[in-house]
Structures are given as C-alpha cells and as structure tokens.
C-alpha cells in the first residue's frame, strides 16, 4: 500500500518538477508546481507529518501558487511572445551536467550516511497539530516570534512595492 503511494506520488512530483522547468508556457509551469506540491503533501502523510501536509496544501497550493497565477495573469499578455527566446541556450549542457552530478552526489551521500539507520518507533500523536503546537510554543517560541515579525515585514514590503507609482 505505502509503496504504491510512494511510487505514484514520487513519479508525479518528478514529472511536475520537470514540467516546471521545461514548460513553454508560464501557466503550465505554475500548474506543474501545484502538482509537485500536492504529491509532496501525499508523501508527508506517509511520513507521519499530518500537520505539515495540511500546511503544505493550505499555504503552498492555496496561497503561493495562486499568487504566482495572479502575477502571471498580470504579466502574461505582454511577455508571452518573447518567452520562447528567453532560455539560456548556452548554459544548457552545463545545467544538465551540473544538475545530474548534483543529484548523483546528493543521493550517494544520503545513501552512504543513512546506510545503518533504521526508522525509530514514533511516540503517539507524532506530527499531529497538538504535538507540533506544543513544541512550537515551548521549544521554538523565539523563532515563532521572529516568524511573525518576518510576516509583518513581508506585508509592508508587498504594500510598498506593489503600490501603483504616483503620477506626480
């Protein structure tokens, strides 16, 4: 059961990843990103990370991809004709070699480092909202506060940068 889920979700996420990079149209890239995010949420569920999976759907699929789509909608009509020619053609072989080498090195390192590891038994309620919340408000309370400050900075930046330029 789990292995079927892993194979399907993993294949979908890889297909989506290739789609993000290779799609000719911006909208197709954004929707491929959505595919990646959705299948990763499924993988999170199989890894006992329920809260993270829900956050992934709400925050990434619900907010970030929609934001991307809005910006594409604003920008698209006037740039789509020029997109096809905006690839870094000269970098293509380097990108393939470097990307392949990076994947090989990372996978090799991970396999080597994790050779003798076996999954630990999980305490009850691992990854639930309650356990995450408890940890968030005790152990991680300072990063949590800083995160709220960061969100405030993000809001202010969006307002300042997104404001229509004044006519004067």
């Amino acid at each position: 059961m789990e292995i079927i889920l892993f194979v399907i979700a993993g294949a979908l996420s890889l297909a989506g990843g290739v789609g993000v990079v290779a799609a000719r149209k911006l909208v197709h890239s954004a929707l491929s990103l959505l595919l990646v995010l959705g299948s990763l949420a499924v993988l999170y569920l199989t890894l006992a990370a329920e809260f993270v999976a829900v956050l992934q759907i709400i925050l990434y699929a619900g907010a970030i991809v929609v934001l991307f789509l809005f910006v594409i909608m604003l920008v698209l009509p006037r740039v789509s004709a020029r997109l096809a020619s905006s690839d870094a053609g000269s970098l293509r072989p380097i990108a393939f070699v470097f990307g392949g080498a990076l994947a090989a090195i990372l996978a090799f390192g991970a396999l080597r480092g994790m050779r003798q590891m076996t999954p630990q038994a999980l305490p009850a309620g691992f990854g639930s909202v309650e356990s995450i919340g408890r940890s968030l408000f005790t152990e991680f309370v300072l990063p949590f506060q800083i995160a709220s400050l960061l969100l405030l900075i993000g809001i202010i930046t969006a307002v300042v940068l997104g404001k229509a330029p004044s006519r004067s």
Binding site: L40, L55, Q120
Partner: protein, 102 residues
C-alpha cells in the same frame, strides 16, 4: 510499518533539488526562476520531514513550518519586485535587468 525505505524519500528529494538547480540555470524568466527556487525549498522540506520520521524527532517538522513561513514571505516580496520591474521595464527576463553591470 513503513514498507518504503526512507532512503528512497531522500533520493527523491535529491533529484527534485537538482531539477530545481537545473531550472535556475536553464530558464531566464524571473517567474520560472522563482518556481525553481520553490521546488528546491520543497525538496529540502521533504528531506527534513524524512529525517524527522527517521529519528522520531519532531524538530524536523517544526523547521519545515518555518521554511514554509519564509517561503511565503519570499514569494510575496519576490513577486512584488517582479511586478515592479515589469512596470518600469516591460520585461520579466532577468538578463534584461542588468543596470548594475560594471
């Protein structure tokens, strides 16, 4: 309980990360660069969640929470910048934005 070896998740994460890196190198459209960066962030998140599962330690999932927050802010600021650049220069091609070139 877990039929899938957790190493498989980490390898998937490595491959996704590399696809994101290749995307940053291959494409010159600012929006697609951003999506590739999101792809890399997600690959790292997958690795964090896998390690949290592996060690039975919740910290990995908490870090994913903070990565999500930072990613959200990053996307908001980045997209606002892209829209601003688009307003003044009518392009989203990052090679066209070279006013600081020496």
């Amino acid at each position: 309980m877990s039929a899938v070896p957790l190493q498989a998740y980490v390898i998937l994460s490595a491959v996704l990360f590399s696809i994101g890196v290749a995307g940053v190198l291959l494409r010159r459209t600012a929006l697609i660069l951003f999506m590739s960066i999101e792809l890399m962030l997600n690959a790292v998140n997958l690795a964090f969640v896998t390690f949290a599962r592996m060690h039975g330690n919740l910290s990995g999932q908490l870090i994913v929470f903070f990565v999500l927050v930072v990613a959200a802010v990053e996307v908001v600021v980045g997209l606002a910048l892209i829209v601003g650049i688009f307003r003044s220069r009518e392009t989203v091609d990052i090679d066209a934005v070279d006013a600081l070139r020496g």
